[in-house]
């Protein structure tokens, strides 16, 4: 049976690791197109 102390220890370590871990890229930004021109 996990004690309250153990639970909070895992909770805090898990929180720190998730903050340090690599962020998931939620989406690419739009990329400028290669073939286009401005019309004045």
């Amino acid at each position: 049976m996990m004690t309250r102390r153990e639970f909070f220890r895992f909770f805090i370590i898990g929180g720190i690791l998730s903050l340090l871990g690599k962020k998931v890229n939620a989406g690419q930004k739009p990329k400028e197109a290669m073939f286009w021109r401005r019309i004045d």
Partner: protein
Amino acid sequence: MAKTVQCELCPNACVLENGQHSRCRARMNKDGVLYSLVYGKPCAVHVDPIEKKPFFHFLPGTTAFSIATAGCVLSCKFCQNWQISQARPEDTDNYDLPPDNVVRQAIFYDCRSITYTYTEPTVFYEYMYDTAIIAKKYKIKNTMHSCGYIKEKPLRKLSKYMDAADIDLKAFTEDFYNRICSGSLKPVLNSLVVLKEEGVWLEITNLVIPTLNDDMKTVKEMCKWILKNLGPDVPIHFSRFFPHYKLTNLPPTPLETLTETRKTAMDAGLKFVYIGNIRHEGENTFCPKCKKMLIERIGYFVKQNNISNGKCRFCSTSIPGVWS
């Protein structure tokens, strides 16, 4: 300062005011700059047999890591992937897969090639181009299945990294392209010639649709044009039509029409003529000299392959294609 731009990627040449989307739905003018909205955001990612593309003379029996984003430069009434080709990028479920991850996945799944397919790869040109450059570094081949509706300059630039292209030659009349696809034939023919000039391995697919493009006189004209401009070695796939999208009123193509089309093409002088989307001996590759069966296929799968070092195992005739 004017914020109007013109896309110079495909013959549609969309002129876009600030905030407008292109006809292909994959580009947008934001404050006077044209952006691709689908870079690194494929909506379809699969590992397929290369025969599904279809490529019959390109690394047979291997798998292709296949990707597509939403959007298309044409609006074919018979489109078999219309749910994604005629959709906006924000309406499809997209993966987050930048170019280096595409190549990583292709290597992980032991694919010999990456295929840009399903919708129209021209709409995700920047994504395809960047992926192709990385793939080349890792000896992964690049192939595309395209409608060929692209301007010459971007096509030549892309060809430096493209190993093979399967181009949909949907018909051989401007009327068909105008009425059924909202496009035109001439740029497609030009793309075929450009790809041949650039040394990209070329195969052609023609979907035979009852009453719309199954006139044998026109098929013969098309084959003569291929023979004259691309040579007799270009494989052509005549695919069976099934009712889809806006053409549900037409029946599937009868087998007799497909066999007649195949015979017309072979009589015109084309050496490698295939029938697709139906089980038939026209799925197999035969040696043009000794007539023996070289590659036996069942659907997308290769049952036997009698091509060794690019030559017929029985009579040593060289068979055009990319075999290793």
